[in-house]
């Protein structure tokens, strides 16, 4: 089962490597990983998606909590939440497909953020599933490059992850 774990991490050198190392050391998967500083300079916010059965997830959460650099942690997939992935995708846009790409982009509510004589660079945000669908919809076009930020997530409503 897919889970989204959100972590407040000490903004210290080496902290991220402890989290990543834990996953490789214990044979857990990381599907996506997103990390950046927060409004509190001492903390980074890290969102990662992983898969595993309940037992594995329990171990992952416990092992993460055991790391001294992990200040707080929540499994977002346990409750209502919002998840967003940002994608930048560069496609060959010439001839008849140029219009088609524009139309598809509009349907997905994406934006063309860079236009070249033969290329479009499209920005799209949404759940991972939506981005996958867009990539599938672009199957006809010639995809040159895909960059995704990995999932960033936050709980709905009053629930917050903070100190």
């Amino acid at each position: 089962m897919r889970r989204i774990i959100s972590i407040l991490l000490e903004n210290e050198p080496g902290a991220l490597s402890r989290v990543i190392g834990l996953f490789s050391q214990r044979g857990y998967n990381i599907e996506t990983l997103n990390v950046a500083p927060t409004e509190d300079v001492t903390l980074s916010r890290l969102t990662l998606t992983t898969t595993g059965d309940d037992k594995t997830m329990e171990q992952i959460t416990k092992q993460l909590n055991k790391l001294l650099d992990v200040v707080k942690l929540v499994d977002l997939s346990e409750g209502a939440h919002i998840e967003r992935d940002l994608m930048l995708i560069k496609v060959r846009a010439t001839g008849v497909v140029r219009d088609e790409i524009k139309r598809t982009t509009d349907i997905f509510r994406g934006q063309i953020v860079d236009v070249g004589p033969n290329t479009y660079t499209i920005q799209l945000t949404g759940t991972g599933e939506k981005l996958d669908s867009f990539v599938a919809a672009m199957a006809e076009a010639d995809i040159l490059e895909v960059v995704r930020s990995g999932v960033a997530g936050i709980s709905r409503g009053e629930k917050v992850l903070r100190l």
């Binding site: 080496g14 490597s17 190392g21 171990q59 416990k62 055991k66 001294l68 650099d69 200040v71």
Partner: protein, 647 residues
């Protein structure tokens, strides 16, 4: 104005104690501190006048406090003293020379110079296991640090408190593949409880305080502090305060177990018909042997110990079923398999205990007490998990059981318990190690007889360290440990070469106690150079070498699973003359080849109180360790009992 402020701040640093009067006359009571967060590699030319007076080389008054000014190296020396460190095990080298110089000039902490950094970590580890205090190690960068890795991993796997200070190349050289540079924090990351890289010399006292706090609290473990050389330079001095308290926002080990869970556990325990207490190293680390014994006796429940838990419950007690697991006692493994309630205390359901997890103790409800939540339900799911320090949880459990027994007149089912003990005694009588001899008789000395002889010669009261292999299992089975911290071995990592250096550490801690290292000719050669350290620091331990001219445990597996093909498990005729070898190191060597000489030689060796004696005892090379779990796909109850007999 800037000039005055500058002088206020820096005068004392420049001048040390000699100009203190001038400084005070300037009204320096309110002077600013030494500017904060000066990088280690600051190029200022501070205090050139005085590290001839030890710590007193720089002192100034900040408000009403007299504050010492120390270099990074001196701060390390002082902090170790403030932490109450009794021994420092280490090996000098380029990156730690400033630290060694500071230790030489100022420190009251004795330093033990080992012959290989791995031995420094094992010696510190042995010291820690025997005393319960953290072991402390100092090594240089690069090879010094990497040599320490095996010892750090050993301590990590067995949850031993240890602080390892490793030198690092100077800050400006980090990342340049400098001479003797290695990423120690990176290399040690998976095998430490936590690690620190010093970035500013003035952080050293706080980091050392934190390191000791982390290493010794909660589930103990090793902590590495990597220290770039420039952070210890003698000419950069800083205020020294050793913090009294530690605050770590993300580190709060549980102090008590959950009351509701403890109550549930008490009820389940009292309702058990075939109970067993399965106690591990956590009982020893958590100083709870007495409580465990009280609980077991109050309930009259049988107890088994893991390899790491030996001594947590007195081995000579009737209620003790012996060690459990791969080479566990028949009665212990049988009782576990057939139990209906298991009280696991400070144990972690290791694969050397459980055999096949899916077939583990099918009828048992499991209560699991552990300070580390990750140990609970990691391999075997717990029915009643209790996270907390073993000591407070056992205390609460005892009280709860007492209250239940009094108020609700809830008592263990005496009839069921009687039948259970009858069954256990039957198992014990049939295949028990102590009541029914497990080894055959040959015209050679059996390895088990050596351990029994050692037990007699030491009155069962020695500290016994061991290496890894058959001799380790024989020692664990046949030396009846009645007290905690007496059995010192590498259980989790299984590190050959652990025995000799750890014995050294134990002997330094307890010079008046008997310390024996049970080893084999394979393991002993992995750190035999420490015989030299034993000479230098006069640690008259007794080395019991069970000599079977092969890597015994490897050979046993090759006998059992590879049709006797001894792939690289024998030495042909390359073994050294151990007697000459130990004599060359300045010690005493004795060879024993006949059973009738065994006790006499053993006694003779222990009578030489002030000499290290190496007993090279020739044992039957064909002997195997039994019982042995049948794997793969076996349960706890599936064992080989001898070469041709199985359950």
């Amino acid at each position: 104005m800037f000039v005055i402020d500058f002088l206020r701040g820096w005068l004392p640093v420049f001048t040390g104690i000699r100009f203190r009067a001038v400084y005070l006359a300037l009204g320096g009571g309110v002077a600013s501190q030494v500017p904060g967060q000066v990088p280690c590699s600051a190029t200022s030319t501070q205090n050139l006048n005085g590290y001839d007076e030890g710590y007193a080389s720089g002192v100034y008054v900040n408000g009403r406090d007299i504050v010492e000014l120390l270099s990074g190296g001196e701060m390390i020396a002082k902090a170790l003293e403030d932490e109450g460190v009794e021994f420092l095990f280490g090996y000098p080298g380029g990156a730690v020379l400033h630290i060694y110089d500071a230790l030489f000039k100022t420190s009251k902490v004795p330093h033990v110079l080992v012959r290989h950094e791995q031995a420094a970590t094992h010696a510190a580890d042995g010291y820690a296991r025997a005393t319960g205090k953290p072991g402390v190690v100092l090594v240089t960068s690069g090879p010094g640090a990497t040599n320490a890795i095996t010892g750090i991993a050993t301590a990590y796997m067995d949850s031993i408190p240890m602080v390892v200070l490793s030198g690092q190349v100077a800050t400006h050289l980090i990342g340049e593949d400098a001479f003797q540079e290695t990423d120690m924090v990176g290399i040690s990351r998976p095998i430490v409880k936590h690690s620190f890289m010093v970035r500013h010399a003035q952080d050293i006292p706080a980091i050392i305080r934190k390191a000791f706090h982390i290493a010794t609290t909660g589930r103990p473990g090793p902590v590495v502090i990597d220290i770039p050389k420039d952070c210890t330079r003698p000419d950069a001095k800083f205020e020294y305060h050793y913090p009294e308290t530690v605050k770590l926002r993300s580190y709060t080990p549980a102090q008590r177990g959950h009351t509701g869970q403890i109550r549930k556990a008490a009820k389940l325990l009292l309702s058990a018909k075939r109970p067993i207490i399965y106690a591990g190293g956590g009982v020893i680390l958590g100083e709870s042997s007495d409580l465990l014994t009280t609980l077991a006796r109050q309930l009259n429940y049988p107890v088994t110990n893991t390899l790491m838990g030996l001594g947590a419950y007195p081995a000579t007690d009737r209620q003790f079923l012996g060690m459990l697991g791969m080479h566990g006692f028949y009665e212990a493994n049988m009782a576990m398999h057939h139990s209906d309630v298991i009280l696991a205390v400070g144990a972690r359901f290791d694969d050397r205990v459980t055999n096949t997890v899916s077939r583990f103790c099918p009828g048992a409800k499991i209560i699991h007490i552990d300070i580390d939540p990750t140990s609970i339900s990691k391999t075997v799911a717990a029915d009643i998990p209790i996270v907390g320090p073993v000591q407070s949880v056992l205390q609460d459990l005892l009280e709860t059981i007492g209250a239940l027994q009094e108020k609700d007149a809830q008592q263990p089912d005496a009839a069921a318990l009687g039948r259970w003990w009858e069954q256990i005694e039957e198992w014990r009588g049939k295949h028990g190690l102590w009541t029914g001899r497990r080894y055959g008789h040959s015209d050679q000395i059996m390895p088990q007889q050596v351990i029994e002889s050692l037990y007699r010669a030491t009155g069962g009261d020695a500290y016994v360290t061991s290496d890894v292999g058959q001799h380790q299992m024989f020692a664990a089975q046949y030396y009846k440990f009645d007290k905690p911290r007496r059995w010192i071995n590498s259980g989790g990592l299984g590190t050959m070469g652990f025995g000799l250096p750890s014995a050294m550490g134990v002997k330094l801690a307890f010079p008046d106690m008997e310390v024996a290292c049970v080893t084999g000719e394979g393991s002993i050669q992995m750190n035999i150079q420490e015989l030299s350290t034993c000479k230098q620091y006069n640690t008259p331990i007794k080395i019991i070498n069970l000599r079977n001219n092969a890597l015994g445990m490897v050979k046993q597996w090759q006998d059992m699973q590879y049709e006797g093909r001894y792939a690289m498990s024998t030495y042909e005729d390359s073994l050294p003359d151990f007697i000459k070898l130990v004599e060359a190191y300045g010690h005493v060597g004795m060879q024993v080849t006949r059973l009738e000489d065994l006790d006499k030689c053993m006694e003779e060796a222990f009578a030489m109180k002030d000499r290290l004696v190496f007993l090279d005892i020739w044992v039957d090379p064909m002997e195997h360790v039994y019982p042995m779990h049948i794997a793969p796909n076996g349960a706890m109850k599936d064992m080989w009992l001898s070469k041709n007999e199985r359950t």
